[in-house]
Symmetry: C2
Subunit: 395 residues, 2 copies
């Protein structure tokens, strides 16, 4: 029996994701496809435009046999921590192979690059701290460093998907389980593409979101870059974005003291003063972030920081949660996924959560709070994102 | 030169207030009328329906020579602490006489009752703690106790205005300055009247607010229980009520830990558990308070508690601020008030704040936060409630 893992956000699930799932299943010959997906807040510090249940449901209708949630502690994080959470989950669930989209490179290129990196990690960190140029992002600094000092790494790390895949590969290397990598070449669109081209059946999630949040007229087009189930979800839901949380963020910053803000995870020394001053003038989230952004403080980093302010998460609290994955939250499955889960139940030592209740809620208290905050933007008034929500079953 | 002080909330300024101001000036023969008014959040834990600047402006147009703000630390409090703040302010400003509305009783009845009370305070507190019936309010318990054990107090303390006046009288008794009391008999309406009667030119503020918040049609009536300046303010502004803050309160309760809630001022032991549970179901502020209310927890007490949760005020913080009045905030004046202020400037030792700026903002930081929170409900987007706002001048 072959088990393949995929790390995703599906914001929203589109034809590129469908292609990747189908190709992964075909190329790996997997019997079970397990998807580790971010919950309601995502890697780049943004809320998902539709909730995790709807996104999981569409995924199961299009090739995923099981969807598990990457705990919020790991999902709203830079690539390395995000990868740590996602890969740990998948390894606990017994995957044999990990599949991800890449711009170039095969599985072995990623494994080799990861091996070289880990063997030289201490040295790399030392060089990195000295050499990093302030005007470049972490990814750009790191890819330049590796290219210069470790020419034996042939993998092109200047591409965003490759950099993310590299993070997964490093996490896999740390595990004792022998897990292979199957890359899928990305079709048509690029990760950061800003525009959906006319009649483009595969577009980047960035481009799709941009269009969705500016107008929904576009949803009535004949050729859409996502399956009709995604279209239905987008029609039925109020699309959630950061602006929905801006009033709460503003209120929070206005009522928190400088000392309290200083303790928030990701808050850099002194930044709390600027945040306190800028919030008074800012009229929207976009306005707020535009005023705060500098060469050193990227939009993504600021979004993550704002998420942690909104959730009132102090440094020690978050760091404590990042030590290990201590539960596996199942969002949904089909028959194949359910059968696999029944079979694995005894082998998996980490608690498997299929129904959040009083008994296990302490374990998930942070995710529950994240869900409650997400619901503040929910005009559909879904009673709960977590408590008493059972996994989606699709036969 | 005779100076008369009045304690008010003016939510909103109506014909009853106008009558009281005119009568007070006439009866006391005062040269200067000084009004101590609550800011944007009021004694019973509610936001003012229109902001403090508009309310101060109308007051100055109708007989007040100067309006000073009761610091928020004292304004959202039971009668005794509210009186402590208001009376301290007025005494610092050099009043000779205090005027207030009462159902029955003359100035000397209040002074005598206050004197007897203070002479026996320790004893009264002891009896009070033993005798209080849980189903009665503080006011009812206290008036019953005084009637039973101190028959020499002839003042009827079962009436709400008398009870409030009694609190003022007690504060005056504690001061070394000889300040007299001039009562004004209330006309027509009763403090807690729920209905404005047809063509009633004097109605209670409770009744007026109830009508205003249910519909504004009523504002187009010919005979209104308030002057046209109040009507204008009500027309121009979005009327603010607790529901405007409910989303923030909900967010706050959802993201605060039980330990954090436990530390909030006025939070009774264990109540934080009920609050955390009830907020998940509550769909509005009215719904929330209705679910929380018990015989022991009055609506007013709960509203005040919610205010302190909203402002994230811990027990020690609030108690620290209640020790003394350490600034006098001037909201507005006419020529008479301004001249009096210039004359008094050197005699008043407490800082007089006419313009909030970087230099004095630390002193007022709590009031500034209260103002910022109030502005969250303000659709008119007034830039600031405090910073750089100069007193209203009406000639």
């Amino acid at each position: 029996m072959k088990i393949c893992g995929v790390v995703t956000e599906y914001n929203p699930f589109h034809n590129g994701h469908l292609y990747q799932l189908e190709e992964a299943k075909k190329k790996t010959g997997a019997d079970v496809m397990i998807v580790a997906m971010s919950g309601n807040f995502l890697q780049r510090g943004e809320p998902a435009i539709i909730d995790k249940w709807q996104r999981a449901s569409v995924a199961i209708q299009h090739g995923a046999d099981m969807v598990v949630e990457i705990p919020s502690a790991f999902s709203v994080q830079p690539a390395d921590l995000f990868a740590k959470g996602a890969i740990s989950l998948l390894v606990k669930l017994g995957i044999d192979v990990l599949s991800f989209g890449s711009e170039t490179g095969e599985g072995k290129d990623f494994s080799e690059a990861a091996k070289i990196y880990l063997e030289n990690e201490e040295l790399i960190n030392k060089i990195f701290q000295k050499k990093q140029a302030q005007e470049l992002t972490y990814a750009k600094n790191m890819s330049q460093l590796l290219k210069k000092y470790f020419p034996e790494i042939t993998l092109d790390l200047t591409q965003p998907n490759n950099m993310l895949g590299f993070a997964y590969a490093k996490e896999l290397q740390k595990k004792s389980e022998p897990i292979s990598i199957q890359t899928i070449r990305r079709k048509n669109s690029h990760y950061h593409d800003q525009k959906v081209k006319a009649d483009d059946r595969i577009a980047s999630a960035t481009a799709i979101r941009k269009l969705l949040l500016s107008s929904d007229e576009w949803l009535y087009k004949k050729k859409l870059p996502f399956p009709k189930e995604t279209q239905l979800c987008l029609h039925q839901s109020k699309l959630v974005h950061w602006e929905d949380f801006f009033p709460y963020l503003k209120y929070k910053i206005l009522t928190a003291s400088l000392e309290e803000l200083n303790q928030i995870y990701l808050m850099e020394e002194g930044l709390e003063y600027r945040i306190k001053a800028v919030i008074k003038e800012a009229e929207s989230m976009t306005d707020f972030l535009t005023r705060l952004k500098t060469k050193q403080l990227s939009w993504t980093r600021l979004q993550r920081l704002c998420f942690y302010i909104l959730l009132d998460q102090k440094k020690e609290e978050v760091e404590g949660r990042l030590k290990k994955i201590d539960y596996i939250r199942v969002l949904g499955f089909n028959k194949t996924g359910q059968a696999y889960l029944s079979k694995m139940k005894r082998q998996i030592k980490t608690p498997l959560i299929t129904n959040v209740n009083q008994k296990n809620s302490t374990l998930l208290s942070y995710d529950i709070t994240v869900g409650n905050v997400y619901r503040l933007a929910d005009s559909c008034k879904i009673k709960s994102q977590d408590f008493r929500r059972k996994p989606i079953k699709i036969d």
